[in-house]
Amino acid sequence: MPGAAAALRHELIGLAGVVERNIYLVKRYIWWDVAFFIWTVANTLTIVFIAKGIEAGGGKIDVNEVTTILLVGAVVWAYLGIIFEILTETVAWERWEGTIEYTFMAPLSRPIHLFGMGLFAIVYGVIRAIMLFAVVALFFHLELAHANFAAALIVLVVASISFIGIGMMTAVLPLISPEKGTQLGFVAQGVLLVVSGVYYPVSVLPEWMQWLAKISPATYALDGIRDAIINGAGISAMWPDIWPLILIGIVSVPLGLEVFRRGERYAKRHGKLKRSG
């Protein structure tokens, strides 16, 4: 087999190994996943019931629309949380289990290693997001006859590329700072979602936060998915949301890889690439 083809085959087998490892972990921690899913459903319900609460308090709103807006916000929040958790926590988790040295000395290129984690995060996150949406929607008898779920899913997957790029940048934090890395990952995730209009229009934010919203992929993901589910918009109608996502993805993935490469070099220079805990 020619060298390049053999190298590619080797990398793809390694990528499958990253996905396989995460499947084993989900299987072994399945009751944690069940508990976390129930918690996410409960958390989402407390947010989505706000629409009914406003109506009950005499507010004049389109309950179906506001409920759907809140539901999409909560589901995307949960989805982003899963992506960041898998990318960031995996490094922290490997450090804690002590496997980090074995993973980082394996002949698997770092981009493939990170793409493997990203691929698993997207598949797992999409399954969880669909389940969450379906379960919570059952509580509200939502009018979703015009919803274009396929277009919403496409927007979510396109947005995921940007999320993975940003996730790679936050995944480097536990690599270079064993004590503070994971916490900083949560901070990055929180900032991203506050400015992206999860439960409110971006226009209500202070001007400087609106500027941050323009470079947050979550802003365009939320806009596009809401448009697809509430108005039944197709891909062409959502192009104004999709092209910024593609652009942010083109920038954030190489940037994320470079940030991670530099972080790994720092960790190797200072002896931080080792077990902790």
Partner: protein, 267 residues
């Protein structure tokens, strides 16, 4: 071509001593390796003896591409260790901690790790049970979580993980520390078997003098980041006029492992 060639290898770390200067923590430079040089021939087993903090693990981690060197050079079968892709295909290691995902089984841990080295599911389906059997791991426990296994059992799985990828350089960093005597002997027997059946070169870092004497062709003494000697055990004893390896170690370093144990107990 030597299996391992290390020339004037240096590594330093900066460690906080707990004191602060303004908002910044004061850091002091610690030399982990102070310019060591040696070669290991293909198929040879070399043991490096040293107390905790002597630089043994730093050496293993440098050769595993987990650290960047600060000076000198190191090659593995002619590949500079900065050529990580080439080196990583040739090397595997077993360290003092077994280091596995504890909830996952031995088979699951070996399976995903093998993929990182390019082994497909069809290749590992038969190979993992075979290699686990070879290290004396009971077939009935292959699907048990690692956390339910004894340290000795976990270390056997660690050996199996290293061998599964067929490394031609095996780095053993205190592989039997903390094991009960029976498990220790089993692991040592297996290391002997690897030497007789594989074309493997072994670098064994340990502070177990008997283990080093029993397994290695040559023994080196590493003290405070300096390699004081590296030669066959008889020659080493003669050099220091010692009858036992322990006496030679004391003569070379002025320290004994008993001192280290006492210091640790006092802490």
């Amino acid at each position: 071509m030597p299996a391992v060639k290390v020339q004037n290898l240096r590594k330093e770390f900066r460690r906080s001593d707990g004191r602060r200067s303004g908002l910044r923590r004061k850091r002091e430079r610690v030399d982990a390796l102070r310019g060591i040089s040696f070669e290991i021939a293909r198929g040879e087993c070399v043991a490096i003896l040293g107390q905790n903090g002597s630089g043994k693990s730093t050496l293993v981690r440098l050769l595993s591409t987990l650290l960047l060197l600060d000076g000198g050079s190191a090659t593995i079968f002619g590949h500079d260790i900065s050529d990580t892709r080439a080196v990583r295909r040739l090397v595997n290691r077993v360290s003092v901690e077994a280091s596995f995902f504890k909830k996952m089984s031995s088979t699951e841990n070996l399976s995903y790790a093998a993929r990182f080295y390019g082994l497909t599911a069809s290749q590992t389906r038969d190979e993992i049970p075979r290699i686990l059997e070879r290290v004396g791991f009971p077939a009935a426990r292959r699907n048990e979580a690692m956390e339910d296994l004894s340290r000795g059992m976990q270390q056997k799985v660690a050996l199996a993980r290293a061998l599964l990828t067929q490394p031609i350089l095996l780095l053993l960093d205190e592989p039997t520390t903390g094991l009960d005597p029976r498990s220790k002997l089993e692991v040592q027997d297996f290391i002997r078997e690897i030497r007789s059946t594989h074309d493997a070169t072994i670098l064994l870092c340990t502070h177990d003098l008997d283990e080093a004497e029993a397994l290695a062709d040559r023994i080196g003494i590493l003290d405070d980041g300096r390699l004081l000697c590296l030669e066959p055990v008889d020659q080493l004893k003669r050099r220091y006029g010692a009858e036992k390896l322990e006496e030679a170690f004391f003569a070379a370093t002025g320290k004994s492992f008993e001192d280290e144990k006492r210091e640790e107990d006092e802490k």
